[in-house]
Symmetry: C2
Subunit: 645 residues, 2 copies
């Protein structure tokens, strides 16, 4: 049985990832606090330019006067911020930040009702609708995120009040939802309560929370008409109904059938993948075979048929949703940052059940690409939608693409992604080492300069590396036990202690080091050649196109680096393989630029259509940067999938 | 000054186009009458499966009981059908059809109010809102189509009642709209009244109608807030407001500024192009320089930056609208059949002002491709939206593309396109010959087997040809005058009477034949080689793609003809040039199939992404059919723009 290590047990050093964790602590978290506290003035994407999230809490707590403001799930912005703080404090204690966050905890506690209920939207705006519009109310979504936040913040600080908040939430949810008569026989339209309950269970061992999670995953979709009936009842009772249009969208709500019977990821991508993560985590604990079988099918579907090369998921903005198999349009997709985050959660929970290398590969793909692109390099601007190709001038005129931006705003009216980015990247050390105590084994999933002690102190592992800036990773393994080191598919010519890796040395993607009261060194050197990527031919959007990857990084080209129009470039697989790299310290930080000697198709520029033109090419250099760094310099065009020659 | 010839003065024979006119007379018009009269049961796309359009008239006339049913512009379906009948009867008299249509005229007359007002939606459903929701009411749109229909039907039959209906409509509109105090200082959200008024003016010489058209084109957008104020007034007066969401969309309504100040085609494509046609036709009559200048700019914009290779226009279904310059996505476009029809109207009105060959080229492009594809080969199924590429399985799952169909339904709840197809293709002989009396010249714009007598009987022209099935066209010109024969750009190795055309023989796209009380023969022979088409590099959607055209026909490939997946094919310009043709008599009629010896990229089919794959190609034959014939055999995939090797 694999288990997550406490965050503070994995010490991360080194330049790339730890820089991000520092950035989140020093820039993102303080900025987001200011937003939540209405101390930032220039927020373009908020009505009235304020979040009001903490003010909603103050009003609910009776500490301030006024009306609720913002989305029905505005509270969750506070909770995900608190979650991010909890993660940050576990790895980088900070007294001042803790004091700020303690006050937020006090405020949440003050806003929480005596019976444990907390949702300022319903408390302040629509008390008559409490638990009566599960199809869109997001109450359990908010409480789920609150539970997650409480757990992380408690781990970081031991704050008893936060544990008490969580206990009361669990009791409240337990008192209202369940199979018993008089309780609600349905779950929230937006999953996440599942994960919240399981994290609470893992922290406290309270079996009740586990049973509650089982209920919420079982009841979902049991009566596919649940949400519709609920809405009809509200109409009959003359209650105010917002946003009726989604009420019958059971697929959007991932409730067209019970989760255990679902085999294809459908509907709203974040809802679907939070649900998947909850299902996998439940199966991890209760070994439910039906749920696990569904998880396997859903995993196969998302990872092998519906995932962009960056780890982005969700192919349309309409319903922020999955579409059909292999339907991966590059310009009109959604690829919400939260969806890639949820995919990482799902992957890691699957990995803990069955430590296949493929799960780590997806985690790595999302972390280095899809999720990291969710924030600017200053840590205070965020994408909600992460496109694969953008032509800013065309987007301006095409309402089909209204959800696409080429510049990151500093906040959103629906602000799920910014704090989600903070808590996820701020705790990415979670994914480096995973112990399997029964087998005296620790899985080392990512090349990151770091160290840990696991297996009850019996085994310590240290990675000395400047990766991704250099291609050597020295594993120092001490004590007793086994380390299974993941050897990524993009690492070529791998040598360990100077010797080429033989085929038999790597089994199922792992290189094994076993120590018995001793110290061993496994000094990895490898190449990360630039690779040309082709999509499965079923992906019509990528037909005759080539993407570029080097190491874990997917690359893209931006118009600011290229004089020629990006769509004019033509590449071959060999052109890509022969790319040259230059690491530059520039406004993007330390970034490896790639240059590909490509061709540009010469075209006449006057007529709209040309007949029997001579196809002429000239050599031209295509300059690329890692995808995560795009949209930091005002580029108007960007491409990931280039035209093939 | 160029003038349209009466339809009955151009006798069309031959296989291709006359077959269509026959089909419209024998299949389309009778079927559409049944639909309008609720005599067809299996109409999937109508609520309650009935049109009710004639029944609405009967109710308004007091001949039947019941409520109005259908769109606010349901009446226009009847009018466009009557227009189609009028056109058909001019070229192919038919007593029985005329009797049916006379009764429809009687019904319209009975439904029309004494004051000339007619709009059954407002008469029956919302009399309080008459002329009070111009932003969406479509009253003048309906009356504009009614005027057009009256004119064509009168020309065909001399029916006095239909002329009287028109006269009353003109008086009604005149009494309500104008600069005078007490009249409405605005026009309809959906143009077409302009064309209706001008056609009435052309028929009757009634200058009042010309002045009214001037008013409607001048007043539009003069106060861009007109529609919004109108809606606000309705809200204040507690009147029922439908579809408020478009009220402030002045761009959608082509009213963000006065038409004479517009320089880019924007907003709803059909509205925009009906407006353009009205403007050009007005400028033709009143020589308004400002309006004409706007027309020139709008023409340049649509023809050179926003038109698909098929003559399709409108790049998004959201608002059925134009998007930015060079934004021509192949899968998510709209290309409404009506929009290409409106483009033909615009082009022809521009042509009559200044007989440039480019206008005829666009007319031809639309007729042979974009418009013709609007109906099935049986004449009783219709596309509203005409895509350039379709992958039916993906569309099924992608809500981004909800407006795309790969099978033509037999009707629509918004049924503008089916009767518009009937009246336009049913009168396509309109575009073959256009006399310019002042210059004793007739322009022969299209190669179609036909004959006419023009210039007050002084000049007769006959085309003997089996085109498009054979590449010879014999012009027999008799009498006194000049014929300017358009030599299309796709006709190569042109010989006239056995002699190669010299450069000087063709001026501005025309070959000139002058006769002086004599007969001359100009016997054209030419080749129509298969041509590879490349789009302007600014069209990112077509980068690295090739389309195929032969003669006036754009070609496409359908999955029913090709075992290999269409997106797997790779073509070069030379592959296309070397295509072979085989004319087959098959379920599609007499259709020239093309076969291209192309390559297919071999791809592995398991993994979603492949790294450094060998790019391997094998030879494969790509089979194509003319675009107009697609979607007649249940194909699931279709492509116009193929991937370039």
């Amino acid at each position: 049985m694999l288990r997550e290590l406490p965050l503070n047990q994995v010490k991360m050093t080194g330049k790339f990832w730890d820089n991000y964790v520092e950035l989140i602590k020093n820039a993102t978290i303080p900025f987001q606090y200011k937003v939540l506290n209405d101390d930032v003035d220039d927020i373009e994407y908020l009505r009235d330019r304020k979040s009001h999230a903490l003010e909603n809490m103050r009003i609910a707590a009776g500490l301030s006067q006024g009306e609720h403001h913002g989305m029905s799930f505005q509270d969750s912005d506070v909770y995900k911020w608190l979650d991010a703080v909890g993660c940050s404090l576990q790895v980088k204690p900070d007294k001042e930040l803790q004091e700020t966050a303690d006050k937020v905890v006090d405020l949440i506690a003050a806003a929480q009702q005596a019976d444990g209920y907390i949702d300022t939207y319903f408390q302040l705006k629509e008390p008559r609708l409490k638990y009566r519009m599960m199809y869109l109310g997001h109450e359990l979504y908010c409480m789920g995120h609150l539970l997650e936040a409480c757990v992380e913040y408690y781990k970081a600080t031991g704050n008893q009040k936060v544990l008490e908040i969580a206990r009361k939430v669990v009791d409240q949810v337990d008192s209202k939802f369940g199979y018993e008569e008089g309780k609600i026989h349905g779950s929230d339209g937006h999953p996440v309560i599942e994960l919240g309950l399981l994290k609470y269970y893992e922290l406290t061992g309270d079996e009740k929370a586990l049973r509650m999670c089982e209920f919420h995953i079982d009841i979902r979709g049991k009566d596919p008409d649940f949400y519709n009936k609920e809405m009809q009842r509200n109409i009959e009772d003359n209650l105010p109904i917002d946003m009726v249009d989604v009420a019958d969208k059971t697929e959007y709500l991932c409730a067209y059938t019970q989760p255990k019977n679902q085999r294809e990821v459908k509907g709203h991508a974040v809802r679907m993948l939070y649900l998947c993560a909850g299902m996998a985590r439940l199966a991890y604990h209760n070994h439910d075979k039906e749920v696990y079988e569904a998880c396997l099918a859903l995993w196969d579907n998302v990872a092998n048929k519906k995932m962009y090369i960056t780890g982005g998921v969700g192919s349309t903005g309409i319903g922020e949703a999955f579409t059909g198999n292999y339907d991966l349009p590059n310009e009109s997709m959604y690829c919400e940052t939260c969806a890639s985050i949820a995919l990482v959660f799902f992957a890691y929970d699957m990995f803990k059940i069955d430590p296949k290398e493929e799960y780590l590969e997806v985690i790595e793909r999302c972390l280095y690409n899809g999720i990291l692109a969710g924030a600017s390099l200053d840590g205070v601007h965020f994408f909600y939608v992460n496109p694969m190709e953008i032509h800013a001038d065309m987007i301006a005129g095409n309402k089909n693409l209204y959800w696409i931006k080429h510049i990151r705003p500093n906040w959103y009216s629906c602000a799920c992604c910014p704090p989600n980015f903070a808590r996820t990247i701020g705790s990415m050390n979670r994914y480096i080492y995973t112990p399997d105590a029964e087998n005296n084994t620790v899985y080392a999933g990512l090349f990151v300069e770091s160290e840990t002690t696991a297996l009850d102190g019996k085994l310590s592992i240290k990675q000395e590396t400047a990766f991704p800036y250099e291609n050597t990773v020295k594993f120092i393994v001490k004590g007793t036990g086994t380390v299974k080191i993941r050897v990524p598919f993009w690492a070529k010519d791998v040598k360990v202690n100077g010797e080429a890796l033989c085929c038999n040395c790597v089994k199922d993607g792992y290189y094994t080091v076993t120590v018995n009261d001793e110290e061993k060194v496994a000094d990895f050197t490898f190449e990360t050649p630039v690779m040309a990527v082709k999509a499965n031919p079923m992906v019509t959007a990528d037909a005759n196109r080539i993407a570029v990857q080097k190491g874990p990084f997917v690359y893209c080209a931006e118009s600011v680096d290229n004089e020629k129009t990006l769509t004019d470039f033509r590449l071959t697989v060999d052109d890509v393989k022969n790319a040259t790299m230059e690491v530059a310290d520039c406004e993007l930080g330390t970034v490896p630029f790639l240059t590909i000697n490509a061709k540009v198709e010469k075209g006449c520029t006057k007529r709209l259509y040309h007949y029997n033109p001579e196809t002429e090419y000239e050599t031209a250099q295509l300059k690329l940067i890692p995808y995560y760094a795009w949209a930091n310099r005002g580029a108007k065009d960007m491409m990931v999938w280039f035209h093939q020659l």
